[in-house]
């Protein structure tokens, strides 16, 4: 298939903004609409746009498949360790053991901010890994 100049240029200029918007949705998830899952899917859709417009090989230079697999596996164990941290602090499983802070600031709500980050990274790595595997054969 022949590469189109318009698709290539537009996707290169659009992808950084999509990634920034996904990070905004993740990191402001406890203050405004959004959250881990939604922000992660937006991040993954940015990566998929790069893979569709420029080919999977050039997308895998920026986001190597090995790193995505590592993030996918390690984020799950980080989630479990955050849960066990509640037990260590003397409560129940998945208890909010960090200080809550003042409501309305970005690093507030202790535990929820970090869980949003972990879930966002995990969802984006998983969905972009699925699409890499599906698009690679063509």
């Amino acid at each position: 298939m022949k590469e189109s100049e318009i698709v290539s240029v537009i996707s290169r200029k659009l992808v950084p903004y999509i990634l920034i918007f996904g990070l905004y949705l993740i990191s402001y998830g406890h203050l405004s609409p959004g959250g881990g899952f939604q922000g992660g899917v937006v991040l993954a859709s940015g990566i998929i746009l790069l893979a569709l417009a420029r080919g999977t090989d050039s997308a895998q230079k920026l986001f190597p498949e090995k790193n995505l697999r590592i993030v996918e596996a390690k984020a799950f164990f980080l989630f479990l360790f955050m849960g066990i941290g509640g037990l260590v602090a003397g409560g129940y499983f998945l208890q909010n053991f960090l200080p809550l802070g003042k409501a309305g600031e970005v690093p507030s709500a202790g535990f929820i901010f970090f869980l949003n980050l972990i879930i966002g990274l995990k969802v984006s790595a998983g969905i972009s890994l699925i699409c890499f595997y599906l698009l690679k054969g063509e």
Partner: protein, 87 residues
């Protein structure tokens, strides 16, 4: 072909009728839990977004299950599609 389309249309009309007129007879949901979340949510979890405070605060164990589902899907797809490339 015509009979099948007619059957689909009949099912559509019956379900629409039930949804439009049957929704009045459903009792309203209990409001105790809703009032508890609205009054105590911000103070107990520190998150302004109530959806986030329920999703990751009160029901975080549910989120753990969802995470396990996603990791199962990804490992299944990697298993299915990586085998094909090696052969």
């Amino acid at each position: 072909m015509k009979l099948k389309l007619l059957g689909e249309f009949l099912i559509f009309v019956v379900f629409g009728f039930v949804l439009i007129f049957g929704i009045d007879f459903i009792p309203p949901p209990p409001s105790g839990l809703k009032n508890y979340f609205v009054c105590q949510g911000v103070r107990q979890t520190g998150a302004i977004n109530l959806v986030s405070s329920i999703y990751l605060g009160y029901r975080a164990f549910d989120t753990l299950g969802e995470t396990i589902v996603l990791i199962l899907v990804v490992s299944g797809i990697v298993m299915l599609l990586e085998k094909k490339d090696k052969e």
